[in-house]
Subunit: 496 residues, 2 copies
């Protein structure tokens, strides 16, 4: 056993070192590298990925994990969980025929530029043959990976959010369909116009300065992670000591960068507050996509769009952007950042309408995977359902079925985690509010009380437990979508 | 043979991929990473270095290289040279006892912070015991690596600049001692004061803008490498498609960043202009430290400090820094950037006095390695020799023997390549001037004619030949220090 453990730890160290390489290479490509360098450097990355793949699929490593799994009851809880997860991952990898997987990687590599062109020209027909093959592969994937417990779309959902099956998501989206759809229709019947003061220019250097201030408000220790700029904001971490974020500044939009930074610093705070003992294990970082997203959205929407937050920080914003914000009241600013309106594009949707975009994608994925919807019928189905939920119909496929890149990558089962994240955030907010007065704590000028609660009840576990287990520990109950719908309806009922 | 070649190419691909990792990790640490992240990330780097080391010392790789070496006459010239170099490197590595090497790595890791403190407090006694052990190791190294051809200090010199032995360097430095020392004494007897216009503030954003312009003047294709900022400017490349530089801006110094950028873009141009066929081999990049430095100094000093260069670009500089440069003439500016003065610190020395700083270090290293100088006597010896060459004596060891970090790293034999680089640059300039009118070519506004000549005669070879061979091909003769001394004396005789 000692010999196995020693080998496991050595191998794990190497696996983590290769993760560091990916972290660094991706960071570089997204923020620094010159366009012409990226393609050349990707060849090195391919070689490194192959080395890394060989490491994780080394038969000796597999046997070692099997031995440790058989003796798992003698391991500490963290290692026991890690061995279970690693064993499942090795087993799943082995079930997928190597040839089919390689062909699929080639397919998505080809599909990506075609997708980009199809979106640019709003030409679904161009992308259709690729998407058909991608869906085919994903359906085959559900057959290869089927177990007694999991079949069909559940297999794909489980990849992105363990233990969240169709049964759970169906119940979740049913609540949204029944309660949120009518509420959204009512709320968006009359849309508040964008105020004139928000249509001015806002100096990018001042935005930078304010965003650095926001990171301080959120108590992010800048000694352990930098902020840079990239086309699409993201967070990237490799242990609690190196968590980086990016944002994007738009001179014509004051709040875009601010909410990006709150959102990404939410992700970053999660990574930073994992128990440092989990550094050097495979149980560091976040527990799942949904739980990660719950943290970023908690900070962005529940904290960052609240009156209590801006009551403290709006004066600073107003000073930074004088004279543009002269005469704007706190109430006007908060109303502006909570403006709601139906729109075609998910990534531009507001907090209230956002989950309906996800619901639509979830229903479509379900039907594509169970075969009741064909790719050829997808645009018409998308537009019909969109009209049903939002009351408007996309004028073209670029603003409809072609808007997201996820399917071109073959990421079926990913979308639902976005809505789940928002819903988990609301459930955590409910639980947190029993322990602390969240709004009152913000009057101290930082999110420290919120950070501390989340650290103790969510962050510290890292990926050493499944996300549903962490939610139970944090809130005392299973996932419950009612908190989310109630939160949204309460909040947006109060906003005129 | 085919099997061996196949294995060699596979292994080489992995070795290069690990080089890419080092390239990226160093770039990140020097430019981006937050201070607290660097230490944590270095653990991943240690693991990766170990993997990389195991790859290069894999006995199967060694046998493969031996087989290819035996059959080297059947290989193309590039591969033949690469196999020779790789075989020597493997053989040398094997001659060093692993335990001693590991202890030495530990020693220098410990020595570094002590060196920093000793420099800060100008306390040589603090650093002395470490330096004694470091010198001991380097002397042992010369015993382990001794061959029929190379012994003593030659072993160390050869590590940094193959084929440049004490015999060659002695002849080089003798010319400097005999001709340059008296000339420098004469020239620096009366020092021109720093003009008042150079003592103003120069907006850093405008410096940035001008430095980007300089990269364009030097025809650097920004699609293949970025420029960022770091404490100490450097160049880093990983093939012709990704060559990056850094610089450092000082608001109180207009020309520091400009000449850094010319210098580093000189290095970068070398890397960019290697034959792209050498990408993916171990024969890409520059041929040696000295040859690399010859390129950076060629651009910085011979081109960048010339009247012909500034005749074209000074008006732009003047416009960029109006009103600070109003009323400054081209002649005044060129005189300022060629100002010469004896000073204590090598890194701040001007073109004329610089090589004497190196000569001093060369003579000291020679004596430390052959045992005729003891570390305990080093500060006194340094100060005595410094007085002899420069006519001034360092007021303390921080400005004397403790000023450079190289010895704390154990890099004995490195310094001479700096002076060699300047001398090679002058020899190349002489050869280039037979083919093109260098000054006239600059009137076209770019360094294209210079770039093209250097590409054809130096850069294209990459590391596929030894540096002395490249110099012979480029100039038709062996290294000859006379060109350098003549160049310096001619140039500085003309400057009032």
């Amino acid at each position: 056993m000692d010999k196995e453990l020693k080998f496991y730890f050595e191998q794990r160290k190497k696996i983590l070192a290769f993760r560091y390489v990916s972290f660094l290479a991706e960071w570089d490509a997204q923020t620094d590298a010159a366009p012409g360098s990226i393609a050349a450097d990707s060849e090195f990355q391919t070689t490194l990925s192959e080395m890394s793949y060989r490491l994780s699929t080394d038969p000796r490593f597999e046997r070692c994990v099997e031995t440790l799994y058989a003796a798992r009851d003698g391991l500490d809880d963290v290692l026991k969980h890690e061995i279970e997860v690693t064993r499942k991952s090795i087993a799943d990898d082995k079930k997928i025929p190597v040839k089919e997987y390689a062909a699929f990687c080639g397919l998505t590599a080809q599909a990506y530029p075609v997708y980009v062109k199809a979106k640019q020209t709003s030409d679904f027909a161009l992308f259709r043959p690729y998407l058909e093959k991608i869906v085919d592969y994903c359906r085959k994937q559900t057959q290869w990976l089927a177990t007694d417990e999991l079949k069909g779309y559940d297999i794909l959902l489980d990849i992105y959010e363990p233990h969240y099956t169709q049964a759970k998501y169906d119940a979740f989206f049913k609540v949204l369909r029944d309660k949120l759809v009518p509420f959204v229709k009512e709320k968006t019947a009359r849309v508040a116009p964008v105020p004139d003061w928000a249509k001015q220019s806002f100096d990018v250097n001042k935005q930078r300065e304010f965003c650095e201030y926001i990171r301080d408000v959120m108590c992010f220790d800048k000694n352990y992670g930098i902020m840079k700029e990239s086309e699409h904001p993201f967070t990237s971490g490799i242990g609690t000591h190196d968590v980086r974020i990016t944002t994007h500044y738009y001179e014509q939009d004051l709040v875009s960068s601010v909410f990006s930074v709150i959102h990404e610093t939410g992700h970053a705070t999660y990574e930073r507050q994992v128990d440092p003992k989990l550094n050097g294990t495979l149980s560091g970082g976040g527990a799942s996509l949904g739980l990660h997203e719950s943290q970023s959205r908690f900070y962005e929407n529940i904290i960052g769009r609240s009156s209590a937050f801006w009551k403290v920080h709006f004066p600073k914003l107003q000073r930074t952007f004088a004279p543009q914000l002269d005469g704007v009241s706190l109430e006007q600013f908060v109303a502006y950042v909570n403006r709601t309106e139906v729109s075609f594009v998910r990534t531009e949707a507001d907090e209230l309408t956002y989950p309906l975009h996800i619901m639509l994608r979830y229903e479509i994925e379900q039907k594509l995977i169970d075969g009741s919807l064909q790719v050829k019928d997808l645009p018409a189905y998308w537009n019909e359902k969109f009209g049903e939920y939002f009351g408007i119909t996309p004028p073209n496929d670029a603003l409809g079925v072609l808007q997201d890149v996820h399917w071109a990558y073959g990421n079926f089962g990913y979308f639902p985690t976005y809505a789940l994240g928002s819903a988990i955030a609301a459930q955590l907010y409910h639980a947190m509010s029993k322990d602390i007065d969240v709004e009152a704590s913000l009057s101290e000028g930082t999110t420290k009380a919120v950070n501390d609660w989340l650290k103790e009840h969510v962050h510290k576990y890292g990926a050493s437990k499944y996300p549903d287990e962490i939610l139970r520990l944090a809130t005392g109950e299973d996932f419950n979508a009612e908190y989310y719908v109630n939160y949204l309806i309460n909040k947006y009922s109060e906003i005129a």
